[in-house]
Symmetry: C3
Amino acid sequence: MPTLERHDNVFVLDLGDGENRFHPDWLAAVGAALDEVEKADGPRALVTAATGKFYSNGLDLDWLFAHADQHQDYVVSVHELFARTLSLPLITVAALQGHTFAAGAMFSLAHDFRVMRADRGYWCLPEADINIPFTPPMAALIQARLAPQTAHQAMLTAHRYGGVDASAAGIVDHAVSEDAVRTAAVELAQAQVNKAGDTLGTIKARMYGPTLAALRDTADPLG
Amino acid sequence: MPTLERHDNVFVLDLGDGENRFHPDWLAAVGAALDEVEKADGPRALVTAATGKFYSNGLDLDWLFAHADQHQDYVVSVHELFARTLSLPLITVAALQGHTFAAGAMFSLAHDFRVMRADRGYWCLPEADINIPFTPPMAALIQARLAPQTAHQAMLTAHRYGGVDASAAGIVDHAVSEDAVRTAAVELAQAQVNKAGDTLGTIKARMYGPTLAALRDTADPLG
Amino acid sequence: MPTLERHDNVFVLDLGDGENRFHPDWLAAVGAALDEVEKADGPRALVTAATGKFYSNGLDLDWLFAHADQHQDYVVSVHELFARTLSLPLITVAALQGHTFAAGAMFSLAHDFRVMRADRGYWCLPEADINIPFTPPMAALIQARLAPQTAHQAMLTAHRYGGVDASAAGIVDHAVSEDAVRTAAVELAQAQVNKAGDTLGTIKARMYGPTLAALRDTADPLG
């Protein structure tokens, strides 16, 4: 389960050491951690990270198939995770030490910056291959953060980007060696702790107004 | 006139061996070919290509000047070609072996990917030079597919991009030697034939919803 | 104060030799210069430039703090400067010989192209550091002209881009040596003087319709 630690002014949220899929309990734990980070005072920033082969594989499809009647509420809660992350009034950095797939990849795009391991692991939106179309708000999030050519290739071909390719395509901001991923993410966050505050929150809310509104439109989340 | 052939799972639509302008008969033939490709079953992808010096020079201005009373209907039919191509539920690749100008260039942008000859031929939006402003839906299509800096230069300066420059600017995905253009496009399409289906169609419809709605708004196509 | 000169078909508007902040008198003088350029006939283009260490530092905060009751009208007049520049029916080039900050940086983005000194001087949006959130129309302008990854970094981290970095990020089109900045901008403008006219104005108006509407919405300019 996700665990939150604080090192000086940088909070580090470890998403887990498994596939770190979005089980409702995992979503609740991450939400509580974001509450704690948001409510803290003073200079601060957030790094999300994980341990092992995966950063996150996204939706918990096993749970979802067993709870089909809760499909819409589940999607609403995932959209809300993306909206909260995208609008946090502090700088957020995702440390992608392992595979980052599907909704896990979208979660990474809701962060301000991404640092990815260069030599192994993929960032991938496999939706076109697994027959799960992006919800309209998910598509809006991805397209708000990636260049048109990159979004098109990523969303339609399920291309698996290694770290170097992901950096060249502008999906991640830095591709570094395995042992440097978390360190580089923390350093990037540490340099921005003084940005935390209402001004940053307002800037984010205005930059991504339509995307946030779509993610928070609970009336028809499946489009 | 356009001719459609099938090689394994890849349809190849040859647009012709002239300037391949959008005469109403040409539009009807291309539309019928897209119908055939869309209605086919199973794994498939589409390559559009041409023979000779031109991929396409776009609108048939001679016909248009001779039929000024049909201007609006003609523009609606061109918008519909772009909308259909952009939303086909299968991967499309344009093989640009020759000059790709004006509405021919826009047609290429309605494809998922573009392969262009590296050493000769230009991709160009000459509208600013020939005093034909882009219709609002045409502008929306171009801006949905190109980075802001590239769209700005291409649309306002009528810059002629050779294959290498077009690749660097993200207008085309690959620039290759003359004899490799069609082969590379077919290989790219062949690798994606299993993407064909409703999921891909839904993803495209959601990604380009506003652009498709503008292209299909027949009430006031000229803005 | 700003001064306008004409060299052949290229107008050169010198913004001044100080910080070139947007005092109401400065705004009026720049507005009058844009009137003159717009009303002129025939082939023409516009270069804006400055003398000394600064291109422009943006809003005149001293004047603004002394005239807090005129805050909203002042913002409306700044938005109008951006809208006018973005929609001029001729090609505009900003010659960035010195620091280009905040609303000065936004003004540069309202031009069609930017040439920046490579070895000294910064292009920077410091709003996140100085606790002045972008108005929604300002955010719209910046996001309409920059790639998503670049807009995100520039708007949230107040990163100072030198000329080489600004060129790599697509913020400026060319980074050149100090003595070449104005010359290169004039040459770039000279090559496009024949674009001046209604067609170019229509193309710009359609490309940036929503951004222009936001900049000209005087009802609630502060969001």
